[in-house]
């Protein structure tokens, strides 16, 4: 480590009161959004809004209490941000439910209630992670177990019977009435595996190398691990036709490799490999090619660009301040409640709302990276940075796809998109970040004072 870890003399405040105030603010925003949806689409506040609001208050208060008691030193900003995003997502899903009822009658598919149910389960997983992982360093012992689990999770959708292909991507597993995207959970397992593996191997990977144009490049023989990661992500692309996850997994590995070794050369190698793989994929696979064509030439509108263009139309129609919740037409855009929920937000909440959402994600990532900086152990640093970067990459890939920064790929918008796997996995990520943050900000256990002559220190617990 090139910079010293923060001195143990720094004592962080718990800031649970601040968190409580922010959570209350988040609840105000979200409940106001629910009411606005009802008023905008129905000119009244439907009874369902009351149910949704009560559920959300319970979820938010429970989350806050859990953190207060089992991770008291955790970062105070993350929970309010997640509650806001999750709540806005539910509001948007509910809004599109109402539009679907208008279109196809009362028996139309309804998602808002289920999303709240998934959020409750997400909260349960959140509590479980915080309770089970009392010290994140213990996870390091299970490095290879997590690697194996990640591998199995990635393979699951390819298995016959349970693996299911939906909308062209084979990334689903169907168990009874549920379908899950194991990739969302694989993301967490991979982050833990990469962190554990790289903490051990980083000296070897960082050691010798050649210097070229001011950048240290790794030796050929050290390229093994990155090549394996590259091949696995290419495998995801080829066999599961899932461009987004492939990019996310590989990007995550390259970034964590760079953080572990402090060698920018790995970024260069990784980017080169990625560009090579992307070019190869673009030339070989028609579904990749058509995504790129749709990205470069969305007009004139064709079947392959319809969704993207409808999303753009929706955002443009929203303009600076939006049509207002319940008053736009986000239901025109296919999957306006999941992959394209960001476009729906842009349409009804306008540029202002869309920028606020992006900034909230940016804040989550910033709190995650700050946690990584504060963390005292290398494993925790890597894990926190990896989790934060995975959120940044995922948001960039999906929102960038919707806004035509990059070709459109299928990924969920964390906390907002409809979908159980995504909600569960992202709540688990937040639990891990809070645990690491709690450990980092907690005053170190007092063993040293015994050797110092002046000092007993009162530690509040």
């Amino acid at each position: 480590m090139s910079t010293p870890t923060p001195s143990s003399a720094v004592v962080y405040r718990k800031r649970r009161g601040a968190e409580a105030v922010l959570v209350a603010l988040a609840l105000c925003i979200v409940i106001a959004a629910f009411c606005a949806v009802g008023l905008g689409a129905r000119d009244k506040i439907p009874g369902f809004v009351v149910g949704l609001s009560v559920c959300l208050v319970v979820i938010a208060v429970a989350t806050h209490l859990v953190v207060r008691f089992i991770a008291p030193y955790a970062d105070p900003v993350l929970v309010p941000l997640v509650v806001t995003l999750n709540g806005l997502g539910v509001a948007m899903i509910y809004r599109i439910d109402l539009a679907e009822i208008d279109k196809s009658g009362a028996d139309a598919n309804q998602f808002a209630g289920r999303q709240v149910l998934w959020t409750v389960l997400g909260l349960a997983l959140f509590v479980a992670v915080l309770l089970i992982v009392r010290d994140h360093r213990k996870l390091q012992r299970f490095t290879y177990t997590f690697g194996l689990v990640a591998f199995v999770l990635l393979l699951l959708p390819l298995l016959p019977v349970i693996g299911t292909e939906i909308n062209g991507a084979r990334i689903w597993v169907r168990v009874g009435a549920f379908s899950l995207q194991p990739g969302e959970f694989a993301k967490i397992c991979l982050a833990i595996f990469f962190a554990g593996y790289l903490v051990v191997k980083r000296d070897a990977l960082a050691l010798a190398g050649r210097r070229f144009m001011g950048i240290d490049f790794p030796r050929g023989r050290d390229l093994g691990p990155i090549l394996v990661a590259w091949l696995v992500s290419l495998g995801v692309l080829v066999f599961q036709r899932d461009l987004g996850s492939s990019l996310l997994f590989f990007g995550l590995f390259v970034v964590m490799l760079y953080i572990a070794t402090e060698r920018p050369g790995w970024l260069v190698v990784g980017t080169t490999l990625f560009l090579g793989g992307a070019t190869f994929a673009a030339m070989t696979f028609s579904h990749v090619q058509s995504r790129i064509d749709a990205w470069l030439h969305p007009f004139p509108v064709s079947d392959s660009t319809f969704q993207l263009v409808q999303g753009l139309y929706g955002m443009a129609w929203g303009g600076l301040l939006g049509r207002g919740l319940g008053q736009g037409s986000p239901e025109i855009t296919p999957f306006g409640y999941s992959d394209f929920i960001f476009a729906s937000i842009g349409e009804e909440l306008g540029l202002a709302g869309a920028m606020a959402v992006i900034l909230m994600y940016a804040l989550i990532v910033e709190r995650g990276l700050r946690t990584a900086l504060l963390c005292r152990d290398a494993f925790g640093k890597l894990l926190a940075a990896g989790l934060a970067v995975s959120i940044a990459l995922q948001v960039f890939v999906v929102v960038g796809g919707v806004t035509r920064v990059i070709p459109l790929t299928g990924l969920t918008t964390p906390f907002m998109s409809y979908g159980g796997s995504s909600i569960l996995a992202n709540w688990a990520i937040i639990a891990l970040l809070l645990r690491i943050s709690d450990q980092s900000r907690r005053p170190p256990p007092e063993s040293a004072p015994l050797q110092m002559d002046d000092a007993t220190q009162v530690v509040k617990l």
Binding site: M355, I358, A362, L369
Partner: protein, 491 residues
């Protein structure tokens, strides 16, 4: 490990900033463009629910919105449907807009920035926003004459007629056959609309094509007015200058090919005057003149008359061309054929009307336009069209001579079917053949009165009953041109 974490936080910052820039671009910078895209349902839904402004010819609407009792509240109606279809275009929920409904959309829908004050007033008074109205330059009688003339053609005929005011460029008539009824596309019965759309698009005769501005065909002998203009401008010829006549043209580079006159006849001697050559539409003369002027000179003269650019942007239009690729040098026989409006020469009726109009108008080529006045919903005039000269296509002297030569064509030559007693009419016939298995195109371009031109017309007819010589071409298209002129000058 803190340094790379800090670097990564900058990288993440860059990612989020790029997303912020992208949403700003979409929702602020590019929003207006995206909202104006054809087929944008969100905008159409709102526009459909608004009282869209009328398109007027004189004081009568040819497109208007009438209240109906359904989710959109207003139905777009075209009282004369087919008659003005090429001009109004359609306003369809599913298929967007075309022609003036598209190009004048911001006014008609009321979203134009010049209607901002009206919108604010509507907002304060909580009135439904309304669209402004668009008045056209079209002459109702001339439009009817054109449409009736085309409708009276033999069964399988396709064709177009366009008339402009030579001194301003104002379009007086523009129609074609076969055409379509925009009411069927504007209907709120969306499945009927999509059936109609399929049917119209499946029709080989392309009823939704604006034949006056989009359909380029070989102009045949009508192009000789351009060749004559080039010869007078570049070679200094006068109407009575002696030019090559005879029954066939061969030259170095022709090999065994000979350019002959239509019907294989003689032009009335081996040495004739330029006026005579135009009267009898002598292929030999104009093939020879084109070679004397040269490819560059011919191209230059054609472009001076408006070729190689889109003639009008208020309705869909295509440029006319002298050759497919100006950078490719023509072989001598190809250049000779180009001089009589064959080979790769192709022109829209509007383009030929513009060239005729420039000759009638002392050489000044005027920009064609359809919209004369734009008014706000409360009938305040927002914009009145100003005639705009594109350039002087030919000198005033050349224009005067050529105009007189075209009068002679009607008085003494192939243009007789367009003669109107008591009025000096100038004209030129044309018959062009694209491939042997297709019927030839009969053309007629004309203007009147010669001393104070009020109208320039181009008519093209594609029909199996067209004879393969100029005279019968004139017989098919000439009367239509004549009736349009009569409608405009009030005969």
């Amino acid at each position: 490990m803190n340094r790379p974490i800090r670097v990564m936080s900058l990288v993440c910052l860059a990612l989020f900033v790029s997303l912020l820039l992208a949403v700003n671009y979409i929702q602020f910078v590019d929003a207006e463009t995206l909202n104006a895209k054809n087929g944008n349902r969100r905008v159409i839904d709102e526009e459909f629910s608004r009282e869209r402004g009328p398109i007027l010819v004189g004081d009568r609407p040819i497109a208007e919105s009438v209240p109906v009792d359904d989710q959109w509240q207003f139905q777009r109606r075209y009282p004369d449907g087919k008659l003005y279809a090429d001009i109004t275009g359609y306003f369809s929920y599913t298929y967007g807009r075309s022609a003036l409904e598209q190009s004048q959309n911001s006014i008609l829908s009321g979203s134009d920035s010049r209607l901002f004050v009206n919108r604010v007033v509507d907002l304060i008074g909580s009135n439904q926003p309304r669209g402004g109205s668009v008045s056209l330059t079209v002459n109702r009688k001339a439009q009817r004459a054109a449409a009736e003339g085309l409708a009276d053609l033999p069964g399988d005929a396709k064709g177009a007629a366009v008339a402009i005011d030579p001194s301003t460029g104002a379009v007086l008539a523009m129609t074609g056959t076969p055409t379509y009824n925009p009411n069927v596309l504007a209907s709120h019965d969306l499945s009927a609309v999509s059936d109609a759309w399929e049917r119209l698009n499946a029709n080989d005769n392309q009823p939704m094509l604006n034949r006056s501005t989009q359909q380029s065909l070989p102009p045949g002998s009508t192009f000789k007015i351009v060749t004559a203009a080039a010869a007078m401008e570049k070679l200094g010829l006068k109407p009575d200058s002696t030019v090559k006549g005879g029954s066939s043209l061969s030259a170095p580079g022709f090999g065994s090919y000979e350019l002959v006159n239509q019907g294989g006849g003689n032009c009335g001697g081996n040495k004739i005057t330029l006026t005579q050559a135009l009267e009898v539409s002598c292929n030999v003369t104009f093939g020879d003149l084109a070679m004397q002027v040269g490819q560059a000179g011919m191209q230059e003269q054609a472009d001076a008359f408006g070729f190689s650019r889109r003639p009008i942007d208020q309705v869909p239009s295509n440029p006319s061309q002298f050759t497919q690729d100006p950078d490719v040098e023509l072989e001598p026989p190809q250049l000779a054929q180009s001089g009589i409006g064959q080979f790769e020469v192709s022109a829209t009726p509007l383009q030929m009307a513009m060239a005729t109009g420039a000759i009638a108008n002392g050489g000044a080529l005027m920009q064609p336009y359809l919209v004369s006045t734009v008014r706000s919903p409360d009938l305040k005039t927002i914009e009145t069209a100003e005639p705009e000269k594109i350039r002087d296509a030919i000198s005033g002297g050349t224009a005067a001579s050529l105009s007189q030569m075209m009068v002679d064509v009607v008085d003494n030559g192939t243009g007789a079917p367009a003669a109107i007693s008591g009025v000096e009419v100038g004209g030129k016939t044309g018959t062009a053949q694209s491939t042997p298995d297709r019927p030839p195109y009969a053309w007629f371009v004309s203007f009147a009165p010669a001393d104070d031109p009020k109208v320039a017309v181009a008519v093209v007819v594609e029909s199996s009953s067209t004879g393969r010589d100029d005279i019968s071409g004139g017989r098919l298209a000439g009367p239509i041109a004549k009736s349009i002129i009569e409608a405009v000058i009030g005969r």
